[in-house]
Symmetry: C3
Subunit: 210 residues, 3 copies
Amino acid sequence: MEFTTIFDFIGTFAFAISGVRLAARKNFDLFGAYVVGFVTAVGGGTLRDLMLGTTPFWMTTPYYVIITGVALLTVIVLKKWLVRFDSTFFIFDAIGLGFFTVVGLEKSMAADFPMWINIIMGCITGATGGIIRDILLNEVPLIFRKDIYALACAGGGIVYCICHKYGMPNVATQVIAAASVILIRIVAVHYGISLPSLSPDQDDSLHSNS
Amino acid sequence: MEFTTIFDFIGTFAFAISGVRLAARKNFDLFGAYVVGFVTAVGGGTLRDLMLGTTPFWMTTPYYVIITGVALLTVIVLKKWLVRFDSTFFIFDAIGLGFFTVVGLEKSMAADFPMWINIIMGCITGATGGIIRDILLNEVPLIFRKDIYALACAGGGIVYCICHKYGMPNVATQVIAAASVILIRIVAVHYGISLPSLSPDQDDSLHSNS
Amino acid sequence: MEFTTIFDFIGTFAFAISGVRLAARKNFDLFGAYVVGFVTAVGGGTLRDLMLGTTPFWMTTPYYVIITGVALLTVIVLKKWLVRFDSTFFIFDAIGLGFFTVVGLEKSMAADFPMWINIIMGCITGATGGIIRDILLNEVPLIFRKDIYALACAGGGIVYCICHKYGMPNVATQVIAAASVILIRIVAVHYGISLPSLSPDQDDSLHSNS
């Protein structure tokens, strides 16, 4: 087992847990919770692979299907205690985000796309799973309204490009880029930093006031 | 016309009818109802084909576009009497589900994927159309909350694998697998069997009680 | 720069503006507004390209990413005055719809699909971006309930086929087809022409009355 595989599995597990827990809050049945967990974990990479024209990554190994099953079992068995581990899950989720971003970026780079596409593919890999999860739950996607999330992926992607351009060894580039994503995410959540929201057209609010 | 084609058309018709009727309840216009009917009928197979890397099946023959049109006309003309045929549509829908599952599984098998992927592709073919339908209607997908639906596909897929492994003739394998899906579905609905739902985190409910 | 490129950019800009403005009404942050604008502009062509089995068009040139950025900036800077330009945006949007329809139809034709698929691909190119936009905003897609929209694409597509069949020069065919889409759209909105909506099953309404 490669070193990076551990991070891949941690990220998949954390993403699946977040999907399963949100599905539970909407009283989904076991199957629905499993699907939402699975889509949260693999949705981003699947969209990336379809756009890159390759077979979705989770179809080449049963690990992702199994890890989602473990995540579902974890939520069922540890339900009462899960909230106590929220900060652990947050760290896992941030690790997953950092790792997914680097994986997505490199898969796009290996297919000879230019750097700006690679950065976008990193963001899509990290952020799309959560968007599809919220669509399935019939909610406005959380990442459009709160926190620095996909922007952390973009930040990590830019760091990757800079390291890569100046000839830094591959492993160092990966670690620094993933760490940047994780750091941006932790700092943003800890200090409650959000992007400003776009307020509606001025005339609209005038209209609703009158 | 092949024997199986009849089941394919019955399933497509039943799925399209379900999409058109639910769109009518949301006061969609004729075009919107057609689109929802079409997506319900072909959405699962389309996602499967994109993941398998082939051209979506409905792009190779005009039958699916035409059958959806017939379904739309049927709902318009027979609107007043449709409810009386609900049990007929339920049987058609179950036949379609069984047939779609077998078609999806075999298409994946023909592309040399392992059996666990074939089973998943059978489930995606059968269940995704209804999920996209509910997303377009801005509802929480029904199959995540009620009834045994995608699980019937999975059950039929497992039956297929067992028959296939023990060298049963192809047609017998197809019939037994499709019949399993239909039977599971009918038994589940008749006896009101559902999967247990995942209740929310204990601490959440405590919190909302206090 | 080719002649047609200008129409492509006008359409992209108008579609992105519509996405950003609707996201602003839902208090999305800057990143969320950008994503919604981008998906509105390129979503239809992306689905078309995935179905045709080619790389999504926006991955081959940075213009679409940049134009969406310009659209976001435009909304931020001109927020107070945007409403005054609503009729301008409507014309831009109609031009974009006509242009996208022709581009989608021709891309499908170049891949040797039959004419009925080309027309559908024209409709998908023009209309899917707005559908995905509304799903991200957690609304029932507007085009299923109001106005002649995708039907204008279908009308333009049929006009294209007729011109093409009777050997009209390519540029004339393109212009006449795009103009048909724009004209249908303008006439429909100006005279408030909508498709009839499918009323729900008779028995349902009886039931809710009693």
